[in-house]
Amino acid sequence: MVLPVSLEDLLATRSAVIVANVVTPRPFDGYRRYALVDRGSYDFIDEPDAPELVACAAALIEQQTGDRRRYVESRVVRLVPGDYLLAHHDRIRDHGLEIVVDLSPTAAPAELHYRQHGQVFFRMPCVPGSAALIPRNPTVTSNHTYLSKLHTGEVVRWIALFV
C-alpha cells in the first residue's frame, strides 16, 4: 500500500495539543473586512502589534515541545454572527508549527477545524484564553466554522506561524 502522505506528516498532525488559560484576552483595533463570500466572511488584522503574544507563544512552544522556534508571521481573525472561513481559503504551509490563541471575550459555539485530506483531525473549541499548537505541512488545511446568528458575541483568534 502506498500512502499519499509521508508517515512523518501523518504522525505530526496527531501531536496537536490544546492548553488552557494561556493569556487574558484583550481587544485589538484596526480590523479590515474580508468579504469574497465563496471563501470567507470575517475581519482580520495582518501582523498585529502584539509582542506579548509572540513571547507567550514562543515560551509555550518551548514548554510543550522542548524546541525553540522562530516566529514567522501572525494575524488576528474576528468572526461575528454569520461569519466563517472555508478550508479552501486557508494558506497552505510547507512546514512549521501553528499556534492559535483564543482571544474571544466569551465562549461561543464555534470551532477551528484542522483537516488532512478533507478529514477533520483536530477541533479547537472557542474557549477564551486557551491556545492550540498544530504542526503544519502541505496536507493540512484549516477552517473556522460558521458562527450562528442564533448566538450573540464574537470569536477572536490570534494565529501565528513558527518554524
Binding site: 465563496d38 454569520g82 477552517n143 466554522t145 460558521y146
Partner: protein, 192 residues
C-alpha cells in the same frame, strides 16, 4: 404528479426573462404543484450532513428515483426550450433545514460534473421557516479571478415555489441560516 401552471405557457417570454435575469440567469415559478408528493416524502429518510460549507439534513444521493424521473420528464423539455440547454436528466434530494442550518456561498460549478441548471422546490412546512432565503450574489471578475462579491437577490422559500438557475463560475448563491421553523425542499441539478 407534477403540474405546470399558466405561468409556463409563454415560453418566449420566459426565455427572455431567463436571459435578462440578474445577477445571473434564473426563473422563479409560484404555481408548480406536485400532487401526492408529501405522501412520498413522509417515507423518505434523512441524515444530518455537516462540513465547512453546510449543515442540514438531507436524503441520500441517488434516492427518490421515481419522483425524480417524472420531474425530469415533465420539466426537462420545457426548460431546454427556455434556456437553450440540452437537458436529458436530473437528480434530486430532499432537504430539511432546521434552526442553525445553512449552506454557505458556492457556485455549484465543478469541472467534470456537467451540471447545467440547478433547482430548488420549496414544500409546505408544518413550521414555516424564518430565514432560509436563497441568496444570489453578483460577482466581479478581473482577468478571470473573482475580485468582489455583492448580495443581489433574496428569494423566500415559499411553498410550491420552484427556482431554477444557471450553473457557471459566477452562479454564486447560498441558503441563509434558518433562524426558526423548518425549511423543507427538493433540490438538485439538470444534466445533459
Amino acid at each position: 404528479m407534477w403540474q405546470l401552471g399558466p405561468d409556463w405557457r409563454d415560453e418566449e417570454l420566459l426565455a427572455s426573462r431567463w436571459r435578462a435575469a440578474a445577477p445571473f440567469p434564473h426563473l422563479i415559478f409560484d404555481d408548480f404543484v406536485a400532487d401526492g408528493l408529501m405522501e412520498v416524502l413522509d417515507d423518505e429518510h434523512v441524515d444530518r450532513y455537516e462540513g465547512d460549507l453546510f449543515a442540514f439534513e438531507a436524503s441520500r444521493p441517488g434516492g427518490m428515483r421515481d419522483v425524480c424521473e417524472e420531474f425530469a420528464a415533465v420539466l426537462g423539455p420545457v426548460l431546454a426550450r427556455i434556456t437553450g440547454k440540452r437537458i436529458a436528466s436530473a437528480d434530486m434530494r430532499a432537504f430539511a433545514y432546521r434552526p442553525g442550518h445553512y449552506l454557505l456561498p458556492h457556485s455549484d460549478h465543478q469541472d467534470g460534473l456537467e451540471r447545467l441548471l440547478a433547482y430548488a422546490y420549496y414544500l409546505p412546512s408544518p413550521e414555516p421557516p424564518r430565514g432560509g432565503e436563497l441568496e444570489l450574489f453578483r460577482c466581479e471578475l478581473a482577468n478571470g479571478e473573482l475580485v468582489a462579491t455583492e448580495s443581489a437577490l433574496l428569494i423566500e422559500p415559499r411553498p410550491h415555489r420552484l427556482v431554477v438557475f444557471d450553473v457557471s463560475d459566477v452562479s454564486l448563491h447560498q441558503v441563509r441560516e434558518v433562524l426558526a421553523g423548518l425549511r423543507v425542499s427538493l433540490a438538485g441539478w439538470f444534466y445533459p
